[in-house]
Amino acid sequence: MSSRKDVTNYCIDTMLKAGIQKAQCTLSDKSRDEFNVDSGEISLLRTTNDTSLHMMGIVDDKRGSISINKTDTESLDRAVKEVLDLAESSEADSANDISEMQPSKVFQKGSTEPNLNLMYNRITAFLEYSRKAYPSLMLEQAILDFVSKKSYFRNSNGVYFESSRGIYNFFPMFTSKDGADISSFNYSGFSSGNLDRELHEYGSIDTLMRQSTEQISTKEISGKFTGEIIITPDCMNEFISHITMFLSDYPLISGTSIYKDSLNELIADPQLTLHSRPVSDEISDGYFFTPDGYEALNSTIIEKGVLKTFLLGLYGANKTGKPKAVNCGDAYVIDAGKHSFEEMVSSVKKGILMCRFSGGNPSDNGDFSGVCKNSYYIENGEILYPVRETMISGNLDKALRNIRRISKERINFGSEILPWVQVGDITISGK
């Protein structure tokens, strides 16, 4: 086959000829060039190429799917046979379907080739900066990579999408040490279409490195009290993942989501507006089409506290009878609030600046608990000291309703744009 487009054509044609009634195929070619730092030294240059071919077929409402990483004819023919076997061995479910006809589109974002010399120079400069600016900081690991990905989607309803993307990603993980005292590890990162700045200038990396050196010496807080937390943009990412998990296929299909009956209902304080913007210019990362074959659009998930959409895919929407989302989440953006970070801190009588949360997924009822890591105690409007062995607990539904303030300032991570969010009525317990 002369082109990757031909591969997708072959897959759909062969599936239909084999007796599959509805067929879908996604082919992706991904290459990655990656510099690794271990223990403060550049250690590895890694170049990987991989292919991912996903085929899904439906026969009499029965679905089977397969993923392989080969595209020779023999492998494709074998995979088609296996898709047919998988579908025929499954159970009929009328919710199984493929996306309807949409105009074909080709999308492109970012460069296609990495600049290895620039990457090397940037990471070398980052190591030099971190040594000079933060002598007590130990860079346990850092990864700077460039990922180039070309994807092709086709189904038997005539849908065809093609996208080409190239993006730089940086992820440093660090701890700080002074004698026998060490901080908890922390990490951050960003995605960007270019490397036009030094690495520590992106996102919140420099702030977190500075904080790490402050966190060598921590204090316990005593007792248990109800207070406020200010969730940092890095930490907010985790809370968003818990919120959106409850809006996704599995908890809505199984009926365990706390938001299953909340569409167009107030679920959060009206200060909160949460978007998913996979095709926004302000997001360097993102995607152009969904795995089930729809062109991705930007959406508002929570508007002034009101839940405006679930994050259901085609199967989930058919299964639950609820509306399908126009994207599959991620690329989250929270609208800026009206308060400065300083105003927020000064309004807290007793609470925690929560910079990292070490906890599990919330229970089905939304209860969560976990440890505040790399975090600070706030009292009478002042950030006093970094804490250790401090836990918080609460309920996700109640926490969203108890949002007190959202910051004007936001951090653009390239993949998300998030502010600081102040939440009240959280149980905070020390030793």
Partner: protein, 459 residues
């Protein structure tokens, strides 16, 4: 099937080089409330090479396992190492020579089941839940099968082939109380292919009945009182404690990166009742759930006694860290996919059994908790940990009382292990989870029950 013999490429190695061909094959079936929501299989195979030059590494991979691609990958990895070498200008130590050699194939000898047979098995489990467990509001049966097959050749002359399978079923049951959903999941299966692990549906019934009983009690359960309490951590929790809170701090790359364990070598870090080992492939005369005979650097894997009767004795190493720490490579360098580089990873990490009886340990607690199952766990370089608890009971006056709702325990592992006052004589492994550290990787963890003091979160 991948080629088992790679010897023909050794003449292309110009530096220290590892050449690996690997295929991971997986099957996933998910049945939610009787509907087959997931029914898929996947395979991912390819070739990779890693080359070492004066203290820096080059790596390259390709999904095609053809002669020209293998040659290209070796050349590209060498080019990458030289790119870094030319810029870094380091004087690197030569790596220790290791000559692991052998083949281990744990494919089933039974006739392979078809996908339909496997789906029917899962549906039979689902049907029994529906028929027998009357108070269930939602049920999910999820089956995951993984075969990892790899061949390795190194420029030292090490050569290895392995096919290591695992088969895990997770059953999640929910019931409702006062308008709230209460969930409890349990894990079935472990090492081996489906045919060897899941011989018949009724082999799971006894465990399923216990699972349902625990859920019903949990629905009537309470939240524990917050604070530091005397607790008995059952085997699953002792295992996750060993892996997450201690194990990660004693991987030598983590030690280099600032782990608190760096300052504790040969010091007392736990009660003398605690001995903790990362087993390579066998323990107590039996095969471990994740056997590693030769690691992905060609080193014959050996057991690492991390804590011996309360004293921190050794870290886990790859070739490079063994030089830095003046130790030997321990066979902990492992990669998950063909295009992943080997990292220092645990294998089968466990606290060793002691001499106490679990019943006696429970009877000895006046006011505390018996914590049985974790949901997930996290720990950091300080050994401070947090584990979610999804199953447990209060202990009052030496007797088990009401069940617990979901809660959390936390603490500093090296402090907490000093409070251990009893270790049970029974040992249990779990191998359902994947450890995450740049790459996922199958690991197992195990232990007896331990009695200790730990901070429990309450609500």
């Amino acid at each position: 099937m991948i080629p088992k013999e790679l010897g023909g490429y050794s003449n292309l190695f110009t530096e220290y080089t590892e050449l690996r061909v690997q295929e991971n094959r997986s099957v996933r079936i998910t049945v939610v409330n009787g509907d087959v929501m997931g029914n898929s299989s996947a395979s991912s195979s390819g070739v990779s090479a890693r080359t070492y030059s004066n203290g820096v590494w080059g790596f390259a991979s390709d999904p095609e396992i053809k002669d020209e691609n293998i040659r290209k990958v070796i050349a590209f990895a060498t080019r990458n190492a030289r790119f870094l070498d030319s810029r870094e200008n380091r004087v690197g130590n030569p790596l220790p020579v290791t000559l692991g050699n052998g083949a281990w194939d744990y494919s089933t000898s039974k006739a392979r089941k078809s996908q339909k047979d496997i789906i029917d098995f899962v549906r039979e489990i689902d049907s029994r839940i529906l028929q027998k467990f009357k108070e269930i509001s939602s049920r999910t049966v999820s089956l995951g099968l993984l075969d990892m097959e790899k061949s390795l050749l190194t420029s030292d002359g090490a050569s290895a082939y392995s096919m290591i399978p695992k088969s895990i079923m997770v059953i999640a049951l929910s019931t409702e109380r006062d308008g709230q959903s209460i969930e409890l999941y349990d894990i079935y299966g472990g090492f081996g292919q489906f045919e060897d692990v899941f011989t018949a549906p009724d082999s799971l019934f006894e465990q399923m009945d216990r699972h349902y009983d625990h859920l019903r009690r949990k629905a009537e359960g309470i939240y524990p009182d917050a604070g530091i309490k005397e607790c008995i951590l059952d085997a699953d929790l002792a295992g996750i404690l060993a892996h997450e809170a201690i194990g990660h701090t004693t991987e030598a790359d983590g030690v280099r990166g600032g782990s608190i364990a760096a300052d504790y070598l040969n010091k007392e870090v736990a009660s003398p009742l605690i001995t903790m080992v990362d087993f390579a492939h066998s323990a107590f005369g039996e095969l471990c759930p994740v056997p590693v005979f030769i690691d992905d650097e060609g080193t014959e894997a050996e057991d690492v006694v991390i804590i011996d009767r309360g004293v921190l004795k050794r870290f886990m190493h790859n070739k490079e860290t063994s030089i830095l720490f003046d130790d030997e490579p321990t066979g902990n360098a492992r990669a998950f996919r063909f295009n992943d580089e080997p990292l220092i990873r645990m294998r089968n990490t466990a606290i060793l059994p002691g001499k106490s009886k679990l019943e006696d340990m429970i009877a000895s607690v006046q006011d505390g908790y018996y914590l049985m199952r974790p949901s997930n766990g996290q720990a950091d370089s300080t050994s401070e940990f947090m584990f979610g608890i999804i199953q447990g009971y209060e202990i009052r006056n030496g007797k088990l009382g009401r069940a617990l709702r979901d809660t959390t325990i936390s603490g500093v592992a090296f402090d907490m292990l000093k409070t251990v006052t009893a270790v049970s004589d029974e040992m249990k492994w779990t191998s359902a989870g994947m450890c995450g550290k740049k790459q996922p990787i199958p690991v197992s963890m195990g232990g007896p029950a331990i009695r200790c003091r730990v901070n429990i979160g309450g609500r």
